[in-house]
């Protein structure tokens, strides 16, 4: 499984009597190893597309393929397995587990994946060092800055070397220095690990790192350009 292919993807939401269009016949293909930014104003559909690709939300119609796998037709359990083994998520609010240390947050998913204890510890220490958190492994999220927490979240997302990393507004809560550091990290991980990155953002600093910029508006892709 390497590329993502979305075909005629539609999604609507109901807000009271109002029907909001999240995705309006979206077609997009993302190749392995790409570093793609989905940009657009709030409500443009970038998070909806990201959630649909990640199997967190199901489209009303259309197809999503990851390699040969039809994501939109998978059942709940199979979707969870797919996320566990093939996708890494980075969220705007970091979403770390507060009772676990940085190392444990990174190890947690690996334990669910069934990785052996020693292997887990080795991988967690290595990836935390790679994201610049050496020495902070035993700190809990509340003892880390926003930027450090987001780096833990990135380490958690990529430690199992997923085929795809999906990041939703990853720099929204970071200052410019931390944001630059994080994007540099994403770029380096993309290059070094070969993971495909799809980042939803309206932060111009983030877009500057993208090698492909997809602009969305009202649930539609209005431009798709290599940079």
């Amino acid at each position: 499984m390497s590329a993502i292919h979305c075909h005629q993807l539609c999604k609507t939401f109901h807000q009271g009597d109002e029907i909001i269009t999240g995705l309006d016949h979206v077609d997009i293909t993302i190749e392995t190893g790409e570093f793609v930014c989905l940009s657009g104003p709030s409500g443009s559909g970038k998070t909806t597309l990201l959630n649909a690709i990640g199997g967190l939300d199901t489209p009303d119609s259309g197809e999503i393929r990851m390699g040969d796998l039809r994501i939109d037709q998978l059942k709940r359990g199979a979707l969870a397995d797919m996320r566990l083994h093939h996708i890494g998520f980075v969220f705007q609010a970091y979403n770390l587990i507060p009772v676990l240390s940085a190392r444990e947050n990174v190890e947690f998913v690996m334990q669910v994946q069934g990785v052996a204890t020693a292997e887990r510890a080795r991988k967690a220490n290595a990836i935390l060092a790679e994201v610049g958190l050496q020495g902070l492994e035993d700190r809990r999220p509340a003892q880390l800055s926003g930027g450090q927490q987001q780096r833990v979240a990135v380490a958690r997302a990529i430690v199992s070397q997923p085929d795809l990393v999906l990041a939703d507004e990853p720099t929204a809560n970071l200052d410019s220095v931390a944001a630059a550091h994080l994007m540099g990290l994403f770029a380096s991980l993309n290059e070094n690990h070969g993971a495909t990155f799809v980042i939803a953002t309206h932060d111009k600093r983030v877009m500057a790192y993208a090698r492909r910029l997809v602009k969305m508006q009202d649930g539609k892709i209005i431009s798709d350009e290599a940079q």
Binding site: A80, H85, N95, P98, Q111
Partner: protein
């Protein structure tokens, strides 16, 4: 703990330490209370059995096979005194006594009343029965005494007799001849059981045999075991030594006093009703704690699902947390309950009025809980099962979670 999941479960418990301690505290309280109550219940049953049996029936009686259902004069055991002595020698147990029983009309110079007249071996009767100790006026039958009688307090009042007064009795002997005698009242007992105090009288067995033309026969050999647990062993030994089961059978206390077992079962049922109320209250406390905990962590659970965990993983986490909380309550509850119960099982305890009642009715003046592996674990294990059962609902709720909605939860 090598497992991150185990560490997470343990730490989740202490995110709201006060709430967890309140729930664990409820478990500790109920578990220690259950350990104490069940031990006390078991102890009081032993005491209740002993008190009931030592008043009159003993643990085992040897009787004619038909005597239990039809206590008629003709269903006798031959050479009863000699056989009782033989049994004492064989079992190396002194607390064995022979008895004979018949009905008679007792008359004073003022009144007459129907009574159950018991012929007893005055030397050995105090070893099998508390009756001799219940004499609160005069004395019990003397050894070798012939024409003496001990009667109940209500009977004495009804016949208007006191110590030193004479009574005559008239009954029907084994050979259907008249059985008659004149005896002097030497003692008046008060058992607290109106039926006995109203209609029971004891005379010397030899005098009874002479008066009722029994020759050397009697109706029962009464055996009091050192402990209730010895009864089965004694029954086996006695049964093995009986040559002719058509003439003599051993009866244990269950057969002699079937109501006793039923009373214990009734008491156990009512006690368990209270215990179940307690267990349900603890289960609701666990349900509340875990439901709150799950609701508060909806966003966190959403994140975990987004990372690839299935609802079953989350449910396992909630059950693991409940299991840890329950184990803590179980361990501390049993420990506390065991310490209190062990102390009281040594020193015993009484309630106001118990000592006076004990002196009056010749009973033990203190209660002793009987601590055992069963009394230590029975209640707490049911509390633990109830708690785990209560956590199923919050765990099942996680099955309805959708990652996106859950992550949006406040």
């Amino acid at each position: 703990m090598k497992s991150v999941v185990l560490r997470m479960a343990w730490r989740n418990l202490w995110r709201h330490g006060r709430r967890t301690w309140l729930t664990v505290g409820a478990m500790i309280f109920s578990n220690s209370l259950l350990v104490f109550s069940i031990s006390l219940q078991f102890g009081s049953y032993d005491m209740m059995i002993d008190n009931s049996l030592q008043t009159f029936s003993g643990h085992i009686q040897l009787q004619h096979p038909s005597y239990l259902d039809q206590p008629k004069m003709r269903y006798t055991l031959a050479d009863i005194v000699a056989n009782a002595q033989k049994l004492r020698d064989e079992l190396a147990l002194e607390s064995i006594s022979a008895r004979a029983s018949g009905f008679a009309l007792a008359s004073s110079n003022k009144r007459s009343h129907g009574i159950q007249l018991l012929g007893v071996d005055a030397k050995h009767e105090p070893l099998v029965s508390t009756f001799p100790g219940l004499v609160n006026e005069g004395r019990y039958l003397g050894p070798g005494a012939q024409e003496e009688i001990v009667i109940g307090s209500i009977l004495a009042r009804n016949l208007k007799v006191g110590i030193g007064d004479e009574l005559s009795f008239l009954g029907s002997g084994l050979d259907e001849s008249f059985a008659a005698g004149v005896v002097t009242v030497v003692g008046i007992f008060e058992s607290g059981i109106p039926d006995l105090d109203r209609a029971m009288a004891q005379i010397n067995l030899g005098y009874f045999q002479d008066s009722f033309a029994m020759q050397r026969a009697g109706h029962s050999i009464v055996i009091r075991a050192a402990h209730i647990d010895d009864v089965d062993g004694l029954m086996a030994r006695i049964s093995a030594g009986i040559d002719d089961p058509s003439r003599i059978v051993p009866r244990d206390w269950n057969e002699l006093q079937p109501g006793l077992r039923q009373a214990i079962q009734a008491d156990m049922t009512s006690a368990w009703f209270m215990y179940i109320v307690l267990i349900v209250l603890v289960a609701f406390s666990v349900l509340n704690t875990q439901l709150m905990s799950v609701l508060e962590r909806t966003r966190e659970f959403g994140t975990m699902m987004a990372l690839g965990l299935k609802p079953i993983h989350l449910a396992r986490l909630v059950m693991l947390e409940t299991g840890m909380m329950t184990a803590l309550g179980l361990l501390l509850g049993i420990t506390l309950g065991a310490l209190i119960t062990a102390y009281l099982s040594v020193v015993g305890f009484s309630y106001p009025g118990m000592e006076e009642m004990a002196v009056k009715f010749n009973l033990p003046d203190r209660m002793y809980p009987a601590i055992s592996p069963l009394s230590l674990t029975l209640g707490p294990v049911i509390v633990a099962l109830g708690s785990l059962l209560a956590a199923i609902y919050p765990a099942l709720r996680l099955n309805r979670l959708q990652p996106i909605e859950a992550m949006r939860a406040v």
